[in-house]
């Protein structure tokens, strides 16, 4: 089974801090994704990566950046955390073909105080 591991289940940070969310997958998948999930809005794509050192903006990239130095690891960075970034963050990975499902981690519930 594919395993996508997010480093923290719960995280509390302060406004203005730089926040790192880490994600690791063990299936040698080319694609990796970061979403945020908010009630009533479903999942919204922040950034995705289709190869090492490659990244593409999703629908809501403002205030975020990403890093993919190794194929198995995809990091989401909140440059200067703000209270409106309080949310559930989900990482996913998939193989290269568009008809393959994405596999999700259990999420990080991030609170910005």
């Amino acid at each position: 089974d594919v395993k996508v591991t997010q480093s923290s289940r719960y995280l509390v940070k302060r406004t203005g801090e730089k926040v790192f969310l880490e994600c690791v997958q063990d299936m040698d998948h080319e694609n990796m994704f970061w979403y945020r999930q908010d009630p009533g809005l479903g999942l919204r794509l922040i950034y995705f990566s289709y190869d090492v050192k490659m990244k593409e903006k999703g629908d809501i990239p403002e205030g975020y950046s990403v890093s993919r130095e190794k194929k198995e690891r995809f990091s989401l960075i909140l440059e200067s955390a703000s209270t409106n970034q309080t949310s559930m963050y989900l990482c996913a990975s998939s193989s290269g073909a568009g008809n393959q499902p994405q596999h999700f981690g259990d999420g990080t519930r991030l609170s910005i105080l």
Binding site: V4, R9, N31, F33, G40, L41, G42, L43, R44, L45, F48, Y50, E56, G58, L90, A92, S94, S95, G96, A97, G98, N99, Q100, P101, Q102, H103, F104, G105, D106, G107
Partner: protein, 116 residues
């Protein structure tokens, strides 16, 4: 704009009765269609997908989904609901014209509540 609609925020059904969770989409071309389920404090789990072929696809945990091209719908069904099916369900679409990066557009989700 491309979008996915799940018109019901919540669906209530009695255990043993059939269930349907609705999904319609507005996407160019012939998209790939997916259903996912999310249990409390967990990530999304893949249930089933439609790529091509038979309009009725079967997936995990006894779920199936019916694709209707003319109505651009992909409704999730189960003949007999279980209390353990209570969860949040997401419909997602992968537009095939997106350059093959497997990006997904998600609906807002439907909460299924199965009562004993």
């Amino acid at each position: 704009a491309q979008s996915v609609a799940q018109p019901e925020d919540q669906v209530n059904v009695a255990e043993g009765n059939p269930l349907t969770v609705k999904c319609t989409y507005s996407v160019s071309g012939n998209p790939y269609l997916f259903w996912y389920v999310q249990y409390p404090n967990r990530g999304l789990q893949f249930l089933l997908k439609y790529i091509t072929g038979d309009n009725l696809v079967k997936g995990s945990y006894g779920f199936e989904a019916e694709f209707n091209k003319s109505q651009t719908s992909f409704h999730l069904k189960k003949p007999s609901a279980l209390v353990s099916d209570s969860a949040l369900y997401f419909c997602a679409v992968s537009p095939t014209l997106f350059g093959g990066y497997n990006k997904l557009i998600f609906g807002a989700g439907t909460r299924l509540a199965v009562h004993p």
